[in-house]
C-alpha cells in the first residue's frame, strides 16, 4: 500500500498589503486541483486522503485571503490589497464588496 511520502511544508500566507498577483492565485488553484485529483485517486486510503484534504484546506485558506484583494473596478483603489482597507473598513458588511 502506497503512503504519502510526507506532508508538504505549509506555504507562507500572502504578504499583507502586497498586490495580488495572478501567478499566486494560479499556484494555489493548481495545488487545489491536484489535491482533489489525489483524493479521487486514493479514495479508501485514509492516510492519503487526509493528507490531500490538508493540502486542499491550505490552498482554500490562501485563496480566501487573496479573494478579498482581487481588484474590483467598483471599489476604491486602495481596497485592492491583501489586508487592505476593503476588509478593515467594512465594505463587505455594507454590501458593497
Amino acid at each position: 500500500v502506497k503512503t504519502p511520502r510526507r506532508l508538504p511544508a505549509p506555504e507562507a500566507p500572502p504578504v499583507a498589503d502586497a498586490p495580488v498577483r495572478a501567478e499566486h492565485v494560479r499556484d494555489h488553484v493548481t495545488a487545489l486541483a491536484n489535491a482533489l485529483h489525489l483524493i479521487r485517486l486514493t479514495a479508501g486510503n485514509d492516510q492519503w486522503v487526509l493528507a490531500a484534504l490538508d493540502l486542499a484546506d491550505r490552498q482554500l485558506a490562501a485563496l480566501m485571503i487573496l479573494a478579498t484583494a482581487v481588484p474590483d473596478p467598483f471599489q476604491e483603489p486602495d481596497t485592492h490589497r491583501v489586508g487592505g482597507a476593503g476588509v478593515a473598513d467594512g465594505w463587505r458588511e455594507e454590501g458593497k464588496g
Binding site: E11, R26, T30, N34, H37
Partner: protein
C-alpha cells in the same frame, strides 16, 4: 511476450511547495519516477546528475528563471535532451515567445487540469519510453 511500461523520469521544477509536492505525488501514483527541484540552479544540477525524459518547468523561479533553465538544458548533448514543458502562471504572448526562443517544447498556463497533465505524460511515455519486454521464460513456446 509480456511487456511492462517503462516509467518516465520526470523532473518537476517548481518553487511553490504545495504545487511541487502534490504534482510529484500525483505523477508517482501514475507510475512515473519523479524528482523535484525548487529553484533553477537545483534543476540544472538534477538534470546533469541524471537526464530526465521530461521536465515540467515553472518559469517564475527564484534566482535562475525557467527560461534560463531551458537554455541550459538545451545546451546539453543531443542524446540527453529532455522534453521541456513550461507550466507557468506567465501566460502572455511575450512569455510564450520567450519560451519558444529558450527551447521550451510546450508552454502550458497554470492551472493545468491534472487529468490533462497525466494524459500528456501518458502520450510522452508511449513515444519516449516504449514498453520493455519482461523476462521471457520460454514457457508455452514451441520450438
Amino acid at each position: 511476450m509480456k511487456y511492462t511500461p517503462r516509467p518516465l523520469s520526470v523532473l518537476v521544477v517548481e518553487d511553490h511547495a504545495d504545487t511541487a509536492q502534490s504534482t510529484a505525488d500525483l505523477l508517482v501514483l501514475y507510475g512515473h519516477r519523479v524528482r523535484v527541484a525548487r529553484c533553477g540552479e537545483d534543476a540544472v544540477r538534477a538534470a546533469a546528475a541524471e537526464a530526465p525524459d521530461v521536465v515540467l518547468l515553472d518559469l517564475g523561479l527564484p534566482g535562475m528563471d525557467g527560461w534560463q533553465v531551458a537554455r541550459r538544458l538545451r545546451a546539453r548533448p543531443r542524446g540527453k535532451q529532455p522534453v521541456v514543458v513550461a507550466v507557468s502562471g506567465y501566460d502572455g504572448a511575450e512569455d510564450r515567445v520567450r519560451s519558444a526562443d529558450a527551447g521550451v517544447d510546450l508552454h502550458l498556463a497554470k492551472p493545468v487540469e491534472p487529468a490533462v497533465l497525466v494524459g500528456m505524460l501518458r502520450r510522452f511515455r508511449e513515444a519516449l519510453a516504449p514498453p520493455v519486454a519482461a523476462a521471457d521464460t520460454g514457457h508455452g513456446r514451441r520450438s
